[in-house]
């Protein structure tokens, strides 16, 4: 009897640890102070952004340096829906996601004409176009930006604490849904196709994978999740401007750094990377531009000497996986380690 299994002992332990961690995070409003909660919410948004970028670049091979286009778009759509159309901000978050996903279809059609590294810069041009258009929108404050009016903010929840809780759970919820969706996607038929594309695009194509279609799907899904996260980020900030919304440093450089350090092309990578990134930021942020300089250097070193990131380095060596993603061929009843 042979069959294919996903789970290994390490992934069972991993799942148990994740379940415990998740419960602790869900209850965070009751055990942490306000500053910690804000930090956790911010970390949560970065885990989402990095996981989505990882799916895009690490699996589908679409290296975008323009995902800030969708972070900003999501943010601006939230402000537009809430201020101009009077939609409740929480309800505006999924709407912003859907509208951005729809807009990403023509963008993808255009960007997919560029290959490889030129695709990367093309996406950056697109983000710049979005930023320049945003700074022409005088109803949303033009180049200097706009704040979410107090009346809308107060209408969200009866107290500031309740609002903080709401936004935190929203951010955490989006992260969990994104991660679950990515795991489900990777375990599905499309996931096998994606992993094949990651490992060898030409071979995948010759084995009947519709590479273009899979990439297109991933691009649109990523736009959806990234825009929802962008909406939540600017709901937390309560203020938006073209330069913060479409910042290449905040929404792409940091995200790439997180993914590369944690481990690109692995689902655990962005989570580990986010923890390391925030630990570094909390200790070194006083250094200002020197801190960014060091970050660039660390990213180069990791890319050259540990291209699979810190998680890749440990997981490879020990055969770990925190989530049951790999496919193991089981010949008896004992899972064999090693070859996926």
């Amino acid at each position: 009897m042979t069959r294919v299994e996903h789970a290994t002992r390490s992934s069972r332990i991993g799942l148990a640890l994740i379940a415990v961690g998740l419960i602790a995070l869900m209850l965070a409003p009751y055990w942490s102070d306000r500053a910690t909660l804000r930090l956790l919410a911010e970390m949560s948004t970065y885990v989402t952004l990095a996981s989505l970028w990882n799916l895009l670049a690490g699996y589908a091979g679409l290296v975008s340096v323009g995902q800030q286009a969708y972070v900003g778009l999501g943010g601006y759509l939230l402000f537009w829906l809430a201020i101009i159309l009077g939609v409740h901000p929480i309800a505006a978050v999924p709407i912003a996601g859907v509208v951005s996903a729809l807009l990403s279809v023509p963008v993808a059609t255009l960007m997919f004409r560029l290959r490889g590294a030129y695709f990367a810069i093309g996406t950056w041009v697109m983000a710049e176009v979005f930023r320049l258009i945003a700074s022409q929108l005088s109803t949303l404050g033009g180049g200097s930006g706009i704040s979410l009016p107090a009346a809308i903010v107060i209408a969200m929840a009866p107290s500031r604490q309740a609002r903080d809780f709401e936004i935190y759970w929203l951010a955490l919820g989006i992260t969990v849904i994104t991660l679950v969706a990515i795991v489900a996607l990777l375990r599905s038929r499309h996931g096998l196709a994606l992993t094949a594309i990651r490992d060898n695009e030409v071979a995948a194509q010759s084995n009947g994978v519709d590479v273009r279609m899979v990439k297109f799907l991933v691009y649109v899904l990523t736009a959806f999740g990234t825009a929802m996260t962008g909406a939540v980020i600017f709901l937390m900030k309560l203020r938006i401007s073209p330069d913060t919304a479409f910042s290449v440093n905040d929404w792409t450089a940091f995200v790439i750094f997180i993914t590369v350090i944690g481990g690109i092309g692995r689902i655990e990578g962005p989570i580990i990377g986010t923890v390391i990134f925030f630990a570094l930021r909390e200790t070194l942020a006083d250094l200002g531009s020197l801190y960014l300089l060091m970050m660039g250097a660390v990213a180069i070193v990791i890319m050259l000497w540990a291209p699979k990131g810190l998680w890749g380095l440990t997981a490879e060596r020990l055969g770990w996986q925190a989530l049951p993603l790999r496919r193991y061929l089981v010949t008896h009843s004992v899972p064999t380690r090693g070859a996926p």
Binding site: A117, Y118, G122, L132, G296, L304
Partner: protein
């Protein structure tokens, strides 16, 4: 009428500068399929090198080229040999991410050394001298020099590529790296020479940029994008195509700025996207990417 002629002419002249941004980018892509995300920041670095050279030696910016060009070429050689050569291979990610890291390092290094203040190179009298082209149409000497230097740079690169031994090595490596290696070409050296040449062009572009307008450590990425747009519009691999692409971008921006100052850069991007939509291979394509 003469007003719009003027706008278009200024756009064409700026296009020469964009073509120089693009030529360096196109050159290294052609030879080693490397897209250098730090290209724009290297242009800004060249501007700062020129600032230091002109300030410490008291020479004018155009003379400083005799120092800035070799300095930048040396930086290019070392950067390629010491770092970027290790990223080349079948995988797209390492070169992209490493040059992205280099970009962040240059930006923040310049910020640390020179602060975020805007700087400009002073070229003296030549900056304000003009020549009359038509009744009511005056053109500055400096933009004219800049444009003719751009043409000379591109013609020079063209000759270097198709008439010299180094150019033959560039083309051979570009066509088939393993075979070039079998024929006794040291590809590590060829790649480093290509980057040195690219940064020599970057040095010229950087100095003209710094004389023309204010610069600060953060303006690099936008220059990368302008160069990239010129490359794609002109057609991959065609040097004269990059000149055409640069001119189209310059004219689009000039017309956009004339309609509304907020539309200058946006108009360039829109024309770029339009060309990408109707003619993705660019106007004068030579190789497929």
């Amino acid at each position: 009428m003469i007003h719009w002629l003027n706008v278009i002419l200024q756009g064409i002249l700026v296009g020469g500068l964009y073509a120089m941004f693009a030529a360096g980018l196109s050159l290294i892509f052609g030879v080693m399929r490397l897209v250098n995300i730090a290209h724009g920041d290297l242009i800004v670095l060249a501007a700062y090198v020129a600032l230091v050279v002109t300030n410490s030696l008291g020479i004018d910016p155009l003379t400083s080229l005799f120092l800035v060009v070799p300095i930048m070429a040396a930086i290019g050689y070392v950067l390629q040999r010491g770092l970027l050569n290790f990223t080349l291979g079948d995988d797209l990610l390492p070169p992209l991410l490493v040059t992205f890291g280099v970009s962040i390092i240059i930006q923040n290094g310049l910020l640390e050394l020179f602060t975020a203040d805007s700087r400009k190179l002073q070229a003296g009298q030549i900056e304000i001298e003009t020549v009359q082209m038509l009744q009511g149409l005056w053109v500055g000497y400096l933009p004219l020099i800049q444009f003719f230097v751009a043409i000379a740079v591109i013609a020079g690169l063209q000759i270097l590529f198709y008439r010299t031994a180094l150019g033959r090595a560039f083309r051979a490596t570009s066509d088939d790296q393993p075979v070039a290696q079998l024929m006794g070409i040291d590809t590590r050296h060829v790649f480093a020479m290509a980057m040195a040449l690219s940064l020599a062009v970057v040095a010229i572009a950087g100095v003209f940029l710094a004389v023309r307008a204010n610069f600060d450590p953060a303006i690099g990425p936008a220059r990368l994008i302008f160069g990239f747009e010129a490359v794609i519009m002109g057609g991959l691999g065609s040097l004269w195509g990059t000149l055409a692409g640069g001119i189209i971008l310059g004219v689009a921006q000039a017309i956009g700025a004339e309609l509304d100052p907020g539309w200058q850069v946006l108009a360039g991007h829109v024309v770029f996207l339009a060309i990408l939509a109707v003619r993705p291979q660019g106007l004068f394509p030579k190789v497929s990417g």
